[in-house]
């Protein structure tokens, strides 16, 4: 992939003021594929509505516009709805980070759903057992407990991968269902609420996270204007935990040795091994971290939202763990991308329920849209189309000495004259262009981010096996 970054390096060398241009190009490059995927999914959703709705063709188009406008209003249309969306964004962010960390090391964490269940259960158990503790002590204990439980659940996957080479997709699916059934057992057994079926009692009040609006009223609201009827804005303090987690994730992957090593492993485990990086240790650590974030997603949602209790058989039908895969893929595992992806998927889910109530179109439509987003992200429709158009429009035969190009790079490199490429390979220019970039992996990583998720589903051969 190194070929791809070099033309950009060139422009940086050309003039310092073109940094903005480089940044813009990076942005548009990394936004193009997700945007294309979303547009494609929207078009497909339109077709589904057109086919399935009754009445004349005019009625059908009216249905489409009603659907999409209510989807928008229901998700980001007014402050109340935005807070409802944020409620859904919170666990998606945390679970999205979980999947993204695993992607970074080249693993596919389908187990976020199970790690989330285990985390929520652990937080619940701590809450019930230590219900006499003060809030300032109980809440952190519950959060840490859920992270620990998730880390164990994810760490098992890492251990099995590193120790026995067991494929993480299979082990995570198995562990998911084990988690679902064990939590169902605990909810309907030892921790069942008296005289209730299949649910635990509610958490003690000091084991819950307050709503942002109420918290504001109690603190800043004492000398600033108060928020009237705070229940209408039901987002809880968990959103700040999720945003903090996002910052930690960014720091972990961009500013620490761990992040660097993990990135190398994700790209080339063989090379990582020769560079003296312990692949096995990093796989276990990354999966444990992934599990910790997913576990946190479980506890934050349990503690943040009414009814503050665990209900049986909800985890196996909860889609957060799978949505998180879409979030991480859409966001290309970058922190800001995960945020945007979570906003999109959370908005779709919230808008979907609003749409069903207000436009009479089943909210399940958003599942179809989500699936199509995943399809197009996964199948590189964009590069595939580009590849085929390049085939039609190609005028010259590719020089034999140019390294084989994959994906996006085809179009980038065919536009660039060959001379530039040979220039950029000049040893005098190359070291100058990214002295710190190479160390932090800043420059190269942006390209690698786009590649990692798409390669990571393939079994990663461990060195020494």
């Amino acid at each position: 992939m190194s070929v791809q970054t070099e033309p950009r390096g060139m422009s940086e060398v050309r003039s310092p003021s073109s940094k903005l241009v480089v940044w813009m190009r990076k942005l548009s490059n990394s936004l193009a594929r997700p945007l294309f995927a979303i547009i494609l999914a929207m078009i497909a959703g339109t077709i589904v509505i057109l086919i399935t709705s009754p009445g004349s063709i005019v009625d059908r188009f009216a249905n489409v516009s009603a659907a999409y406008s209510s989807l928008w209003i229901g998700s980001f249309g007014d402050p109340g709805n935005i807070t409802y969306t944020l409620v859904r964004v919170t666990p998606l962010l945390l679970a999205g980070i979980s999947v993204a960390i695993a992607f970074r090391v080249g693993l596919f964490n389908i187990g976020a759903a199970g790690q989330l269940a285990v985390g929520a259960m652990t937080a619940g158990i701590i809450g019930f057992k230590l219900s006499t503790w003060p809030s300032g002590l109980l809440v952190p204990t519950m959060l840490l407990g859920s992270m620990l439980a998730g880390a164990v659940w994810g760490g098992i996957v890492g251990l099995l991968k590193a120790w026995r080479g067991a494929h993480e997709v299979v082990t995570t699916i198995m562990l998911n269902w084990i988690a679902f059934y064990v939590t169902d057992y605990l909810i309907d057994g030892p921790f069942k609420a008296p005289n209730q079926a299949n649910q635990t009692p509610s958490l003690p009040p000091q084991g819950t996270l307050p709503l942002v609006s109420k918290f504001y009223n109690q603190t800043l609201g004492t000398f600033l204007p108060m928020i009237g009827s705070p229940e209408q804005y039901p987002v809880d303090m968990g959103i700040f935990i999720a945003l903090l987690a996002l910052v930690i994730y960014w720091f972990l992957t961009r500013r620490t040795t761990f992040g660097y090593e993990v990135r190398v492993i994700g790209q080339n485990p063989q090379a990582a091994k020769y560079a003296g990086i312990s692949v096995k240790r990093n796989i276990v650590v990354a999966m444990a971290l992934a599990g910790a974030f997913a576990g946190l997603a479980g506890s934050v949602r349990l503690m943040g939202q009414f009814p503050y209790q665990l209900i049986g058989t909800t985890f196996s039908i909860d889609s957060t763990g799978f949505d998180a895969i879409g979030v991480a893929l859409l966001g290309r595992t970058s922190a800001i991308g995960v945020l945007l992806g979570a906003l999109l998927f959370g908005g779709l889910r919230q808008g979907g329920t609003y749409m069903q109530v207000n436009a009479g179109i089943p909210g399940d439509l958003v599942f179809i849209i989500q699936a199509l987003v995943l399809f197009s992200i996964a199948s590189e429709f964009l590069p595939a189309i580009r590849r085929s158009t390049a085939r039609w429009t190609r005028r010259t035969i590719k020089p034999a000495l140019v390294a084989p190009l994959i994906g996006d790079s085809t179009s980038v490199s065919t536009k660039e004259p060959l001379v530039k490429k040979t220039l950029s390979e000049d040893p005098i220019i190359v070291p100058e262009q990214t002295p710190e970039g190479t160390l932090n992996g800043n420059d190269a990583s942006d390209e690698s981010e786009q590649i990692t998720p798409l390669d990571s589903g393939r079994p990663t051969p461990l060195p020494g096996e």
Binding site: I110, I178, D364, F367, F375, L454, G457
Partner: protein, 315 residues
């Protein structure tokens, strides 16, 4: 007390009858998984393909009042979902795991969406007896004590599943086509060099896997439940996935795994009065599969090229 109940339950033909029934329900999608993965395409979308099959089967059945057409509808619907998986993962060289997840989400969304539109949110009624898949009753054989109801009084699909199991075992290991399928799954480059059409084989295998999963879904909705409910598969496709891995990607091994998992499922509902949690018993298939993966009882190894899109001209 517990042992007493256990022995009483184990001695009843009712338990073994439903073991075979659950086993067959798992077997159909699991065999589909075997075929698909043997040809080198990861298929974790059996769940979604089953759900689509279950839905389409009931809807065609209700519309035409013909069970056979319902079954065909289920098979075709499963096959269509698989076709999407095939196009996306073979032609577009997509990540097969992501594609599988997308199929599962799409199936859930599509069936719920269409169910809502078609029935105005009311849901469908239970199928009347003449619209359900019939239970065969092989006359005097069915009257043999104990064994009769188990072996000779089963739903027609149970027998079909056993026949398909034997056919696929024969196909994979005794025929030229089977050799080609396995070659494509282990080393597509070599297979291509030998003149085998890698894409064609993979397409055929993925679509057959969807058709089998669709048939399994049809069995669930039209045979066992007699109704279609939202998300009625509830993880059956994933147990089938576990059975496939536990059975080491061979049809006969998968069949045995399905029997074990089927027994677990049948037991879990019957041991409830002993205070033994059915939920805990339900974890058994997954625990066993994990153990098999770790290699304590003979390690499970997937086909070498499983999950890797084929690029002609690469090493």
């Amino acid at each position: 007390m517990f042992l007493q109940v256990l022995f009483r339950v184990l001695g009843s033909s009712d338990l073994w009858q439903s073991t075979l029934q659950f086993g067959a329900l798992l077997l159909l999608p699991a065999l589909g998984g075997v075929i698909s993965e043997r040809s080198g395409v990861v298929n974790i979308a059996m769940e979604g393909m089953m759900l689509t099959g279950a839905y389409a089967g009931v809807m065609v059945d209700l519309a035409t009042h013909n069970v056979l057409l319902g079954v065909i509808g289920a098979i075709v619907a499963g096959g269509l979902m698989a076709l999407v998986h095939a196009i996306v993962s073979i032609n577009f060289k997509a990540d097969q795991v992501v594609s599988g997840i997308a199929i599962n989400i799409a199936a859930l969304g599509l069936t719920n969406y269409l169910l809502f539109i078609q029935t105005q949110g009311q849901g469908v009624h239970s199928l009347t007896d003449n619209l359900r898949l019939p239970t065969l009753n092989l006359g005097p054989l069915a009257n043999i004590p104990f064994l009769g109801p188990i072996l000779f009084q089963q739903n027609i699909i149970v027998y079909v599943a056993v026949i398909i199991l034997l056919a696929i075992q024969f196909l994979l290991f005794r025929t030229n086509i089977g050799l080609r399928i396995r070659a494509v799954g282990e080393h597509p480059q070599a297979a291509d060099t030998a003149g085998i059409n890698v894409r064609l084989i993979r397409y055929a295998c993925v679509i057959s896997s969807g058709m089998l999963a669709g048939l399994g879904g049809g069995f669930l909705s039209m045979g066992i439940a007699g109704i279609f409910n939202s998300n009625m598969t509830g993880g059956t496709g994933f147990i089938a996935l576990a059975a496939m891995i536990f059975g080491k990607y061979t049809p006969v091994g998968t069949g045995l795994a399905c029997l074990v998992f089927g027994l677990g499922e049948a037991l879990s509902t019957r041991l409830q009065d002993t205070g033994f949690s059915p939920n805990l018993l339900s974890t058994l298939p997954y625990l066993l599969t994990l153990v098999a993966l770790i290699g304590l009882v003979g390690r499970t190894v997937a086909p070498a090229a499983d999950g890797i899109p084929y690029e002609p001209g690469t090493e």
